[in-house]
Symmetry: C2
Subunit: 415 residues, 2 copies
């Protein structure tokens, strides 16, 4: 099995100013290609720390993928450091220079500076990976049978290089093993309750199949992974075991694919040739955002009314002023009227409406922070549910959204 370490470089990672999303994406792509990631390391823009990380990861891995520190400014030291580490000297790469010039003249339409031109310089001991999306070229080094690839930290630049160049080249170099995952998603049951339900099954799994529990926002994903060389045999046993697993958790299963709740709901609507809309108070557009993040969601999603104020609830959704005053914005009657208003004014087949108190402020004795009312339904029938979350604002918003999406999914299946 080919082992990989990912090194991400940048002070911003060590003071928490940015969240590293690159490593997760890289790990996903490498796994699909049958390359295992053993370790991910983040270090700052400090020569000693970068050199130590290179030395150490060489011991752990066959392939070391490096991102970050290739920008044009003084805090970006990765390139000269790698040049020294691999005993090279800096030279201008003509193709990279042409690319930088093209980007500044034709795409950015900004004057090119000395700093940008310097980005076309690379160590003479590397194979250059041209950057089609930005000005910093990637660099492929080899030393003592190990491969080192340095890429920019800008996510879409790194992703382009990985897809166009790095993974295809790794596939050519190595006889990669077969790795396959099967993932299902449950809702409304805890990790330990599932573990109890499937304990015997789990203990009976063969050595080369691994089961993982991935809890997230009220959902628990169960993932089976197999690796080896005989694709046909492994596929067959994985499918069998996955089929048994689905039966064991059938009461709580949402999907037997590695997809999101909003994706499951979207597919269901498309299959039934129906549309939906949302009326959001406390989630403030987050449900709409989840749905519209799916390419092609316009096929089943008409839109949302985000009504933060009483006035917006009354004007846009025709919620009765009296209901708001008597019952309060966070009440069963209000979400019911919001859902009705959305169905009527947006004209979809189904609607979701939510209203709640997400915190940190706004709690009341009878409606503490975390109280949420959800309504889902169609023109014939609307069902409601009161939930209570105990977390901080963002998590309360996310939990409300996923619960509401699941409620509509179940409503459609049941009605």
């Amino acid at each position: 099995m080919i082992n990989t370490s990912i090194i991400t470089i940048g002070d911003e990672l060590l003071i928490g100013q940015v969240i590293d999303t690159n490593s997760a994406w890289m790990a996903q792509q490498l796994n699909k290609a049958g390359i295992k990631v053993n370790r991910r390391i983040a270090v700052g823009d400090t020569a000693d720390d970068i050199l130590k990380a290179l030395d150490e990861e060489t011991l752990h891995a066959d392939i070391v993928l490096i991102t970050g520190g290739l920008g044009p400014t003084a805090d970006d030291i990765t390139k000269p450091l790698l040049c020294k580490y691999f005993n090279g000297k800096m030279i201008v790469n003509e193709a990279a220079l042409a690319n930088v010039k093209y980007l500044f003249e034709k795409v950015f339409k900004r004057e090119i500076t000395e700093r940008n031109i310097k980005q076309a310089e690379v160590p003479d001991v590397c194979t250059v990976i041209q950057n089609k999306r930005g000005s910093a070229p990637g660099m492929w080094f080899e030393k003592a049978g190990k491969i080192f690839v340095s890429m920019p930290g800008v996510p879409h630049e790194m992703k382009g290089m990985m897809e166009d160049d790095v993974i295809p080249e790794l596939r050519r170099r190595f006889d990669l093993p077969f790795i396959e995952h099967r993932t299902l998603m449950t809702f409304g049951i805890g990790e330990s309750a599932i573990a109890d339900m499937i304990q015997e099954y789990e203990e009976s799994l063969p050595e080369n199949i691994k089961l993982a529990y991935l809890p997230n926002y009220g959902m628990v994903r169960l993932r089976l992974t197999v690796s080896g060389s005989d694709k046909a045999t492994l596929d067959k046993i994985l499918d069998e075991k996955f089929s048994t697993l689905q039966q064991l958790v059938s009461a709580n299963i949402v999907t037997n694919l590695d997809e999101k709740m909003e994706g499951v709901l979207g597919k269901l609507l498309v299959q039934k040739n129906k549309t939906m809309c949302t009326a959001e108070s406390c989630t403030g557009g987050y449900i709409a955002h989840l749905i519209t993040s799916i390419p092609g969601s316009s096929a089943f999603y008409d839109g949302s009314v985000v009504t933060y104020s009483y006035k917006a609830k009354e004007d846009l959704l025709q919620v009765n002023h009296e209901t708001l005053v008597e019952k309060g914005a966070v009440s069963e009657d209000v979400v019911r009227e919001m859902a009705k208003g959305a169905l009527q004014h947006i004209g979809s087949d189904y609607a979701i409406a939510v209203s709640g108190i997400m915190g940190p402020g706004g709690g009341m004795p009878d409606k503490p922070v975390g109280t949420v009312w959800i309504a889902v339904g169609n023109k014939e029938k609307i069902v409601t549910q009161r939930l209570h979350f105990r977390f901080e604002r963002q998590l309360n918003i996310q939990l409300t959204a996923v619960n509401a999406l699941n409620m509509l999914r179940k409503f459609i299946l049941d009605n």
Copy 2:
């Protein structure tokens, strides 16, 4: 200076199924307390890899913070492994047991299982950190002058322990140095152009002040960091240098605080005692989500109409059917009418309207993927702008949102 390594444990991190947000948050909090994070390492749920990481990080750091692998299921092996590593034996912790029982009986209202009870077992060689938000206790170990703290991977449980117990205890143990950051945000100017503008300034900075460039979605953050022991002197020099930096980039500065674009806009509205609303097509509720993620945003934000379909644009915003048919949904006239409709129906002082083609599909010869029209204004005046982004769907959505927010910010300042 006290050095820290963060080890995150979990196979899900190495196959990219989850993005590690814990490390960034931990690093932020530690930095504020004057504790430096030197390295972050992610390893899988594999005994050898975890043990190797513990050994190695002991060499790099004074404090090793560990998250993950404490769940109740068979893939969670961190606790028994730490027990062995520190030569302990497992015993029941009575307070942890009482907590687990309380959670299942009173909060989750689910039957408690043997697995949950086992979560109250801890190595006898650790100091237990009680978990007020979940069932897995934290563990504080010491060995050869080094501190090791193991916490659950569930973000809000880890955050609670860090805030309530770990950071206060570290403050008591160490005479921590003073670390201070000053961050400003620019918009509409590239990293290298800024670097050229402030080259002399950057070269003149004293040894103990570091400047970092953090580009993100069209914004570039500039961060000055100072560390040392004499707070009064360091504060003074940092303030002076930060003041000069602000003057140098004054044409492009959005804020001289480490805050988000939506936060800057919100404060401006509150200060002027005005409200705003949004009419979103292509961003699908993302602008509303950004704004409503700010606690207290109801003070300046009335709501949004997310109109994905022609019908929703006509019904909810009174966009003319003829305009849609003649000019297309992605056009100056349509965003202008959307903004007018939102101002009229939601009744806010200011509105943002956006319509565009975010990809991957939907492009046309005269309106390729990435084309966006934005309108911002009030009842007296509406201004529009056409932009073109060259990225994938999510990034195009994010860039549209931040550009629209900045356009309204500038409109308010100018009008």
